[in-house]
Every structure is written in structure tokens, then in C-alpha cells.
Symmetry: C2
């Protein structure tokens, strides 16, 4: 693989995880950030990630369930885990943060764009980075909600542009959905698949553009169906979750998942559904019920309460 | 609880399981069957179930994962499991099979109707059994696809009529969805909930009628979304399953579930979707792709092949 120098543009939740994990797997990683303020917000995220990796690795010495599949192909013995911790130390020290376009982009093999879901900001960045990028650079976007075809023409290299979409807690939920647009060349697509594997991800190949990729294309209708049962007063969230977990053996039902996703995200998805405009629709009822919970501060796991109470943990 | 004498009408896959499990939990159970031929088809099912209970209980002595939650609240020690096996023996011996309406229905506390999903046959049965049923008898339908409101008026006791819906392999997937119609009286609903719990089920209470109950209201849109990704050539079934299992921790993705459900059932559900009439629709593509697999004999787990190959097991 020709990819060695990886630039992650954006230091948010996913950007910092992608950067850390890529460095942990031995790549030269630079995080490009828009401003000194962004650096100030990114560094604590990296500090926290570093602590999580070290603690989780240590815990995995004695507890197999602590092990995360992104750490390595197999859980090694304690000595092997100590080597992985050493690798995490080196990764942490090696990460470079910069606001300089030149420093970040002038020797990049792969840019992973993980900035805000704002088309204008993405177009700005793609346009600006072109001034510095070598011809060889592949650009991948981590956008969850936008399609690569919408931005390909702004990258100056549509054939080397595609989407590489990560899940939160990348070291544990180690999927990378790889999705080109119609103009992506197969050989660059394949290189990104290889890179994804090299950083400990399971590459999930999409053969064509699909809004929501694979996961959200299933998760959204599934969660919406569960929300509909609740908003129409057919059954309680706990009953609905119990039904799903007993019937499918899954560890969490839809309302546990909604608590993890966050009710604000669920609300935003549901508001965008055109059917929600009809006030008598099930979608409008879901929007209303989610809004009640959001107004009450019941936003999910991170807020300590959502459909379930997490405050006693 | 006033329920002691339980009549299961119908000796199909679910009817025989409901009867066996109810007897195993100490109820007096009679299976009513339409003909001597039905008795001949039901008895081997009971024989097989009996063997499954005994083998699974024996295996659970040493293997905790063999344990099924419908057997008892908690997995006992080996001596306790021997007692459960003895209970299974008694259940097996106690089951009465009859084609006589009088014998079956004249002293029933609860009738569980589990005959074919044919409205005419159900109406016939409800009409005929009224001649024999005591006034106290509660009638529950195990129908998966029809609503109790469609039949309440034919039972002669709409306030004592509701749905009690089981999952296949009742001893393991021990859910019982309880769903009344608008005229079901709460006290009879509550008695059926209590009965469900008494036979080792987790009662899942629906507050109103819902086609598909809770589980299928979620499962159908979820599976359809997965089928759409496949039929539109976005991704392969294996990739889609991997995405779901890594992201949600579930033991099986949608195509493993489809193999268990059976592709013929999936096909029948999709054909009934009004959108499938448009040949350019995703639904029509799903129907076409499922039909190809069905024509090739790839019907799912029971056929040895579906989306996965089970022949080497």
C-alpha cells in the first residue's frame, strides 16, 4: 500500500478517533484544524482517547469482554498487550496538530475529511487543500449524511474521492463503510479498503452510492418502526425492547439504541421525514413525543436519562 | 388464577408447542383437531417436542447455553433438572387429543385457537365451539396476521376474546404478545397475561390492536430495508449482516434472520406490499430476487441453503 501519511481534517469526536486509531496502527498522522481554538478543543479529546485505550487494554489482560476488535486481530497475552500499550504511547506522542494547510496537506497520501456536516465548509476545505495537495493524494469523506457525488467536482480529483464512514468508538465498533460515487476509480477505492483493513477496521464495501450507507439504511427504518409503536401508544419502550431482545438475541432493543444514539439525533432524523408535516401522521406524533423528552432533558445515555435511567451507574 | 383447563385448537407447529409447554407447566391440556388425519400429523410433532425438551434439559445440566428460559425461572442444578425432565414426562403423557367438540370445549377455562390463517375456518370454529363452551371460557387467538376485532363478534363473548401470540420454539423464545380488541375487558386480558406468565412466557402487553403485533412491526421494516440494499445491488448480504452484527452486537444480521424465517414467508410479505405492483419499485426488485432464490430451492435454514449454506452442518 502506498498510503503512509494520513491527514485527518477535523478534530471532532470521530476525527480524533480516526486520527488516534490510524497512528496506533503505525501511520504518520496529522490532524488539520481550522483554528487554534479547534486545537484547544481537540487535544483533550486525544488525551481522553489515550486514557481509554490504555485502560481498556489493561482491563483486557484479565477480562476478555473488555477487548475491542480494533486493537489487533486477536487478543494477545499480557506481554503482547503491554506491547500494544507501548504502541498507544507512541501513537499519542506522534500525533501532529496544525492549522497550516501547507504543513498538513503538502505531503499527504490520504486525507480523511471529518469536519462539520456543512456543505459550504466542506467545499471551502476541498477547494483550499487542492492548492497544497500532491496529485497522488486520495480524499475520503467521513460524512454521515451527504453523498460523495455532491462534492466530487470540488476536489479536483473526482476519481480519487470517495466516502470512508466510521462508527463512534472506532476501536470497538470497527466498521468502515467504503462508498464511491460513479466517478471513483476502482484502484483508489481498493487502496482505501486496504487502508481501512490496515487500521484494524472491517471494510464494508458498498457497490454504489446509498444515503445512510448500509447501517443507517437499516437502523433508521427499524428505530422509526419502534418509535411508531411507542408514539401510537401500542406498547411501552421497555416492552418493545424486551420483545426485540428475546426474539432476536440482540443485547439491546431499539430504545436502548436510541439512548446511545441520542434523542436529539433521533429527533433531527424524524423531523426531516416529509411525512412529519402532516400533524396527524405517526411521524408527527414521534416528533412531538421525542420533543417532550428532549425538553425534559432526557437526551439519552450521555444525559444520564433517556428512555432508561443511567444516573445510578 | 381461574384457568386450569386449557384447550389448544389446532396441532400445527405452534399449536403443538403451546399445548406441550402448557402441559409442562401443569395445566390440563386438550388439543382439539379437525380430523383423525390431523391427529396423525400432530402426534409426531408432540413426540419430537418431547425429545427436544428431554435432550435440551439434559444438555443444560452441563452447558448453560443450552438452557431455555421457558423451562423455569432459573437453571437449577442437575437434580432440579431431573425433576423438570420428570415434569416433561408427565406433560407428554397427560396431553389429550380429540376431534370431539364436546370433549374438548365443554369444560374449557381457556381456548387458544391456533388453526390455519383462514378467516372462514376460524369463523366456523368459533361458531361451532360456542355450542359447547361454558360462559366462563376465555378465547385467545394465536393468529399472526389477523386482528381479534375481525372475529370478536363470532365468538359470542367479545369481551372474553383477545390475541395471545407466541414465537416459534416457545420454550426458548418465550414471548407472548397479548393484544385485545377495543371490546376486550381488562380483567380477562389480565387473566391471560397471568396465564402467559404461568406457562413460562414473558407477557408483552399491547395497549391496542396493531397488525404484526410488536415484533413483526419492527422486523418487517428492518428486513425490508436490508432486502432493499441487496436488491438494489448496494451491498452483499454477508456485508450487510456484518455491518449489523458489529454495529449492534446482535448475534445475527438480517439475512441470517431471513434464512431462519424462511424466504417463502419473506416473499409472501413482500408480494403483499402495494408498492410491489410498480415493476420499477424496490419492492418489485426484492420480490424478483427472492423468487429467483426460491426457484433455486434456496429457501433458508430448513432447506439447507438460503443466503448462507447450512448443508455442511
Amino acid at each position: 500500500m502506498d498510503i503512509k501519511n494520513v491527514v485527518v481534517a477535523g478534530g471532532g469526536v470521530l476525527g480524533s478517533q480516526i486520527a488516534y486509531q490510524s497512528a496506533y496502527k503505525g501511520f504518520n498522522v496529522t490532524i488539520w484544524l481550522r483554528s487554534e481554538g479547534s486545537i484547544g478543543r481537540c487535544q483533550p479529546k486525544l488525551d481522553r482517547l489515550h486514557a481509554v485505550y490504555l485502560q481498556t487494554l489493561e482491563a483486557a489482560k484479565t477480562n476478555p469482554t473488555a477487548w475491542a476488535n480494533g486493537f489487533a486481530d486477536e487478543r494477545p497475552d499480557a506481554a503482547g498487550i503491554d506491547q500494544l500499550k507501548e504502541r498507544a504511547e507512541q501513537a499519542y506522542k506522534s500525533l501532529k496538530l496544525t492549522t497550516s494547510y501547507e504543513e498538513a496537506f503538502s505531503d499527504a497520501d490520504l486525507v480523511i475529511e471529518a469536519i462539520a456536516e456543512d456543505p459550504k465548509q466542506k467545499i471551502d476545505l476541498y477547494t483550499r487543500m487542492q492548492e497544497y495537495l500532491p496529485e497522488r493524494t486520495i480524499i475520503a469523506t467521513n460524512s454521515s449524511t451527504m453523498l460523495p457525488s455532491a462534492f466530487a467536482s470540488y476536489t479536483g480529483r473526482p476519481q480519487k474521492y470517495l466516502a470512508l464512514h466510521f462508527a463512534n468508538e472506532i476501536w470497538r465498533f470497527n466498521t468502515a463503510e467504503v462508498m464511491g460515487h460513479a466517478g471513483t476509480e476502482q484502484k483508489y477505492y481498493d487502496q482505501v479498503v486496504e487502508f481501512a483493513r490496515a487500521i484494524g477496521m472491517v471494510p464494508l464495501c458498498l457497490h454504489k452510492e446509498q444515503p445512510g450507507y448500509i447501517l443507517n439504511s437499516m437502523l433508521v427504518p427499524f428505530l422509526t418502526a419502534a418509535e411508531a409503536l411507542w408514539a401510537n401508544d401500542v406498547a411501552d419502550p421497555q416492552t418493545i425492547d424486551t420483545t426485540w431482545t428475546i426474539a432476536t438475541g440482540a443485547p439491546a432493543g431499539p430504545f436502548r439504541i436510541l439512548d446511545i444514539v441520542g434523542l436529539t439525533t433521533a429527533y433531527n432524523i424524524c423531523v426531516m421525514d416529509p411525512r412529519a408535516k402532516d400533524p396527524d401522521s405517526t411521524q408527527a406524533k414521534i416528533v412531538q413525543r421525542l420533543k417532550q423528552k428532549i425538553d425534559a432533558g432526557e437526551l439519552g445515555v450521555n444525559a444520564g436519562k433517556g428512555f432508561y435511567d443511567y444516573s445510578k451507574k
